[in-house]
Subunit: 225 residues, 2 copies
DNA sequence: CTTCGACTAGCAGGATTTTCATGGGCGCGG
DNA sequence: CCGCGCCCATGAAAATCCTGCTAGTCGAAG
């Protein structure tokens, strides 16, 4: 689980990092609010631990800005004062939890675990996407159908991953083009169609049930039926 | 938002109930662990607030048993002692938060709001129009009736979406033509009628009650009756 | 009671749009 | 150079869309 810690006291920061790392978490430290914001916007973290008093950008403001991009990411605040007013501010800014310094490391660990548990369920299925007897392993980037390995090219894989992430949802060609090819204009080509065709040949031909379905006028959808 | 409070001190219980009710929450009180478990199993609550020391079944055990049925329901513990050991037990049992008595009501309210926000967010991304047992998922562009998927063409879907957005209202053919076909003149055709007919065949034929109704001389209306 | 007109339901098939599969060009790395 | 992955273009095939038509309903007028 990827955690971002934003804390300007180097000693406390490295103490926390050591502790959580040894518990198997993947933790990055930012030493001021700007750095924290920049990191948080670059990639999604599973959990944010924010000091309230930070140089350049305080924790509350940072929290608000991050929440604009990632409304669901769990956030824990660390603060030096145990004032109700601060708590109100923290929760209003969108905090999920709140710890007053000094705290026992065990305390922090409990909070991290509690918030992590939320993600866990989603995380567990995030390593392997599956639909009927089709499996896509996100780590190994290996795809199998009925236990049989299927070799895909880079683009084919990217397309399949996107479609499987949205299984059951009808996805438009434009949405596919944006996510798989990073084009946000109408290319006026049948690129998407061609790759769906490739995928069908490899995934559906010779297997049952068919998993890739066309919805005329709307796009494509993956479902077992 | 439906909350279940399990607390054996009547005075504290009614204090909490009064406070949260005035904040617009729908709160039920259970006075012992058994009663709490029985209620929690009967219907899903959006949030559980559990005292740790309860007659018949203690809070930790209650938490575990409820989590077996509802793994994601947020749970807040109330306890009389501020011991780290208790916190460990609470979080291991699956708690999301923890309050030590006595606490300011404001404190509890903050926690309730923070945990409620979670649910809300999950709810908000579920863009669903519904009428009786008919559901239209705007995100996935999938329509179901009585749990059974119904495949619609683009125009049929657009028409249904418009009608459902205006459910209960009588919509004229002209208004439909404008919104679904982007024509703002009288085309002198029975296009709308034809598509309503298509929808009826797919949505209403074989189901009850009928949802699409004709209002002679005025247009169409969707309602359950 | 009958007729008439206004209105609606639903079908059928040709017109139109959308999708599929294939062949081939291009560029890159072995 | 060769093979492979990537992308474009084309025509055939399929699905959808729309028009025109018939049949049916209902109420009011004769």
């Amino acid at each position: 689980m990827k955690i971002l810690l934003v804390e300007d006291e180097p000693k406390l920061a490295s103490f926390i990092k050591k502790g959580l790392t040894s518990e198997g978490y993947d933790l990055t430290i930012a030493y001021d609010g700007q750095m924290g914001l920049s990191l948080a916007q670059q990639q999604p973290y599973d959990l944010l631990i924010l000091d309230v008093n930070l140089p350049l950008l305080n924790g509350f403001e940072l929290c608000r800005r991050v929440r604009a991009d990632y409304p669901h990411v769990p956030i824990i605040f660390l603060t030096a004062f145990d004032s109700l007013e601060d708590k109100v501010l923290a929760f209003e800014a969108g905090a999920d939890d709140y710890l007053v310094k000094p705290f026992a490391f065990q305390e922090l660990l409990l909070r991290v675990r509690a918030l992590g548990r939320r993600q866990q369920a989603a995380e567990a299925v995030r390593h392997v996407l599956s639909l009927a007897d089709l499996e896509l392993n996100l780590d190994a980037k290996v795809v199998t159908r009925a236990g049989q390995r299927i070799d895909l090219t880079t683009k084919e894989y990217a397309l399949l991953e996107y479609l499987l992430l949205n299984q059951g949802r009808i996805i438009s060609r434009v949405a596919i083009a944006e996510h798989v090819w990073d084009v946000n204009f109408d290319t006026n080509t049948n690129l998407v169609d061609v790759y769906v065709s490739y995928l069908r040949k490899k995934l559906d031909r010779g297997f049952s049930p068919k998993l890739i379905h066309t919805v005329v006028g709307m796009g494509y959808v993956m479902r077992a039926e």
